[in-house]
């Protein structure tokens, strides 16, 4: 197992390096560089200004040289400087990453807590009214566009029944104690979490249901029942554990998105997360921010896939990496 993990970690490092280069290359291939965008915004920029700024930003260098400069800076522990916001990248991204993590983790937790019991229930009551109702709820969640749901939630719960704030991350301009701050943050999280969770709940319910139906149809379940084991024990130990393999895959992918951000939800709720920042950085050619965000996303996907591979072995001892 150890050698498998080491091998996978080395592979992960190679994949990250290769992908970082291709991503950098792709960004340079996009039309217009940061100076081009300045020119279109400011008619007073002279050709001398253009030449000076290109040299200062290193845009007059070949792509390989620019990539190497970027890698050297990253390896020295400096994430670089955002040319859009004029601040160091770590200062810009740090708080936003935390906000995104809180939002995504809360949404994922809510989704899991609701979806798994519902999925199991639907599988156990297959073909009944309850199963149809749960399925309908799941399909509704999958089908509703998140931006539409977000706007409806704002109209209903922020304007008509003003229970929750329409946008933002926290109340600004007031001093709050820890308890008040916690309550305040939760109030601001309710609507975006609700908007984000509904779709995940639908997806998780469908996966759980089908995996459980398959697991519960196996011979060992019949054997367990014949042996007189309790129903909850059969469901949890024999049924659910065997249904875990497909669920681990989808949950690992969901966890890997914890730091990537939900662009639409963050934008509609003006939630200061990393999703909208990444989008803006790509549009405005803010290389350092976009590349760091990309590296985080790639690393998370690779690490959680590795984790999923390890968990397969835990969930099903028949899977071995020796």
């Amino acid at each position: 197992m150890t050698s498998f993990i080491i091998r996978r970690l080395i592979q992960t490092g190679i994949v990250i390096t290769l992908l970082s280069f291709f991503c950098y290359l792709l960004m340079t291939l996009m039309p217009g560089d940061p100076v081009d965008l300045m020119i279109s915004a400011n008619p007073n920029i002279t050709s001398e200004d253009i030449e000076r700024l290109r040299a200062l930003y290193g845009l007059d260098q070949p792509v390989l040289v620019r990539y190497w400069n970027w890698v050297s800076t990253i390896l020295s522990g400096d994430l670089g400087y955002s040319r859009t916001y004029r601040v160091p990248v770590q200062e810009l991204m740090g708080p936003r990453l935390i906000n995104t993590f809180i939002l995504s983790a809360a949404a994922l937790l809510v989704s899991i807590l609701i979806a798994l019991p519902l999925g199991i229930l639907a599988a156990l009551k297959k073909g009944t009214r309850l199963d149809y109702s749960i399925n309908m709820f799941a399909f509704t969640g999958i089908s509703i566009p998140s931006f539409w749901l977000a706007i409806v939630l704002i109209i209903v719960f922020a304007i008509w029944i003003p229970l929750f704030p329409a946008s933002g991350t926290r109340t600004v301009g007031v001093d709050l104690s820890f308890g008040e701050l916690l309550f305040d943050r939760i109030r601001y999280l309710v609507l975006p979490v609700l908007s984000l969770s509904l779709m995940s709940i639908g997806t998780f319910v469908r996966f759980t249901r089908s995996a459980m139906i398959e697991a519960m149809a196996n011979d060992y379940i019949r054997t367990a029942r014949a042996k007189g084991l309790s129903w909850p024990r059969i469901i949890v130990i024999h049924g659910f554990r065997n249904a875990l393999i497909p669920l681990i895959t989808i949950l690992a992918l969901s966890f890997s998105g914890l730091f990537s951000g939900a662009i639409i939800t963050e934008t509609v709720f003006s939630y200061q997360g990393v999703g909208s920042l990444v989008y803006e950085s790509i549009i405005s050619n803010d290389f350092n921010v976009a590349m760091v965000a990309f590296m985080i996303s790639v690393s998370m996907v690779l690490i959680f896939n590795l984790l999923a591979d390890i968990l397969y072995g835990v969930a099903d001892p028949r899977i071995s990496y020796s």
């Binding site: 007073n44 008509w160 600004v172």
Partner: protein
């Protein structure tokens, strides 16, 4: 079942009772005003800031020597008087055979930074030094470069002489010549000035933006979270006296579609000029009037000029008769009435009515009323014959077909495109619509002249500014000049280029006016660009906000934020 019906009834009752009507109790007071912006902002270092939202907010905390007021007239801010040849504070002189100008600027006596330190000419001299450093990424260096030297009066550090390297009539229009607090920023600059972008990365504006000593306006920044909000509180050292509103909070709400929801839920009290799109504002204005909501939706025609660039490399468009036919065939008043409720006036040329140089006198420029017959006649003259399929063809059998491009996703422009397509179709021109994301459109298509026919977008100008960049022959972007210049149609009229070179050096106001009017004549006569309309600036304010005026130009309403105040809602209710 009874429970469900009861729940629905209760829900309905809550909804009905909470739909807002004109309510004075929720209006903001002078204690706090929360303003929504849809655009992101950067740090407030005036040397390097480039985002519109930053400039809008910076004017609350920083002032310059002069500014353009709401009536489009220059007025001093930090300066006691604007020096001019007429008031004797400026003089022309010759040095080494070059005619130059010396002007005396004197800063108001009580000007101070937010930490109580005096603001003097040394701060302007230091700002110039920073701006000219090759390692600082200032976008527009010309503002500082035009001043060759700043000589500070030994007896009065608030009085200094600016020596300009060239004698230009608008030498005293330097609203973007900012001051930097030398007492705070000098040590940082000295330490990092050799390192590319070193100063700006370590400046206090970046590392400690809530330091009050960085600001000299009516407010100082007390809290700033990039991408989220900024809190401004009164600056006790402001030279113009205390601002009337205690605290202003600006919040970034990047989705313009939810700005109204945020306003009506009380998350914000006001939407700045960097907020709603025109169509959203028009719809909201109807709701405000229909439901008697406590807001004013302000529309102010601005200097933003929406137009169509014609690529003169296109052989069809090289014939001026075709270009004129295109203008005659557009019913511009009809367009602005149908799509904008008449709140965005039709354009005559690149100068807006707010500009003192503006003219719509038919003796000075060529005016194109809506005349479809005249358009058809011009096309007939140009040998584009109408065939049975409803389109025009030339002698080689080529169909008169044009591609019109603009920024994808801009609903207003897309509507205008369809309107134009329909109008040009009626005179036998086939129009293909091909839109691109703004990044591609501005990053490559326009600035590298890759549009083949027509490109629709807007220019922002400032009053009495030389349009050389978009009209001179030498400002046509090419690979050789690094794609600099904004003459995207590729229009070259030697006389116009010559006039524009003369314009900056002409000190006689009437002669300057004659020059620019001759330029406008050629511009409207040769039609390298089709003027569409002047865009309006929009903001939404609470009904009790007083002292606020939308200026319509690039010097924002926040330049006079100290005059804003909120009338007591209780008094309004009793009235």
């Amino acid at each position: 079942m009874r429970k469900i019906i009861t729940s629905i009834f209760v829900f309905g009752l809550i909804v009905l009772t909470t739909v807002p009507t004109k309510s004075y109790s929720n209006l903001p007071t002078n204690e706090e005003l929360q303003v929504g912006l849809s655009q992101e902002f950067e740090n407030f270092n005036p040397m390097i800031m480039s985002m519109l939202a930053t400039t809008w907010m910076y004017n609350m905390v920083g002032r310059t020597l002069m500014v353009l007021n709401e009536d489009a007239e220059w007025e001093p801010q930090l300066a006691k008087k604007i020096p001019s040849l007429e008031n004797g504070l400026a003089e022309r002189f010759t040095e080494d055979g070059v005619e130059k100008i010396r002007a005396v600027w004197e800063i108001v006596d009580n000007a101070k930074w937010g930490d109580g330190t005096d603001l003097t000419c040394r701060d302007f001299k230091f700002a110039r030094e920073v701006a000219l450093a090759p390692t600082v990424a200032i976008t527009e260096r010309e503002t500082y470069e035009q001043v060759e030297e700043i000589i500070i009066d030994e007896n009065n550090p608030r009085r200094c002489t600016f020596k300009y390297k060239e004698a230009k009539w608008n030498f005293n229009q330097i609203p973007k010549f900012y001051a930097l607090p030398e007492h705070l920023e000098r040590p940082i600059f000295e330490k990092y000035k050799e390192q590319p972008e070193g100063y700006e990365q370590h400046s206090l504006y970046t590392t400690s933006p809530t330091n009050p000593g960085l600001y000299n306006g009516p407010y100082v920044v007390t809290e700033m979270t990039l991408g989220s909000h900024t809190i401004f509180e009164r600056n006790p050292y402001f030279f113009g006296g205390p601002a009337k509103i205690n605290r202003i909070i600006t919040k970034v709400i990047s989705n313009t579609g939810t700005l109204e929801a945020n306003l009506r839920s009380g998350t914000i009290d006001m939407i700045s000029v960097l907020g709603m799109s025109f169509d959203q504002a028009l719809a909201f204005n109807q709701r405000v009037q229909g439901r008697n909501l406590p807001y004013n939706v302000n529309f102010q025609p601005s200097l933003v000029y929406e137009h169509l660039d014609l690529n003169l490399d296109n052989p069809f468009l090289q014939d001026v008769r075709v270009r004129k036919a295109l203008v005659y065939a557009i019913d511009r008043p009809g367009l602005t009435n149908a799509l904008f409720g008449g709140k965005q006036p039709p354009a005559y040329h690149n100068l807006a009515p707010l500009d003192p140089w503006f003219t719509n006198d038919p003796k000075k420029i060529v005016v194109y009323p809506y005349r479809r017959r005249e358009a058809a006649r011009l096309l007939d003259d140009a040998r584009w014959k109408l065939r049975n399929d409803g389109f025009r063809y030339n002698e080689n059998g080529e169909r008169l077909e044009l591609t019109i491009m603009t920024t994808a996703g801009n609903q207003v422009r897309e509507l205008v495109q369809v309107y134009l397509q329909d109008q040009w179709r009626s005179i036998g021109i086939r129009v293909r619509i091909q839109n691109e994301p703004p990044r591609v459109f501005f990053g490559q298509t326009t600035n590298r002249r890759r549009f083949t026919g027509v490109a629709m977008y807007a220019w922002v100008s400032s009053p009495e500014s030389n349009p050389r960049s978009s009209l001179s022959c030498d400002r046509i972007p090419t690979e050789e000049n690094g794609w600099s210049g904004q003459n995207y149609p590729g229009w070259c009229n030697e006389r116009v280029t010559e006039l524009l070179e003369k314009l900056d050096l002409e000190f006689d106001e009437q002669k300057r006016l004659n020059i620019i009017h001759e330029v406008l004549y050629h511009y409207t006569n040769e039609v390298p660009v089709i003027p569409l309309y002047y865009r309006s600036d929009i903001s939404v304010t609470p009904i009790n906000l007083r002292g606020y005026q939308l200026p319509g130009h690039q010097f924002s309403a926040t330049n006079h934020v100290e005059r804003w105040y909120l009338e007591d809602p209780k008094k309004m209710e009793n009235r």
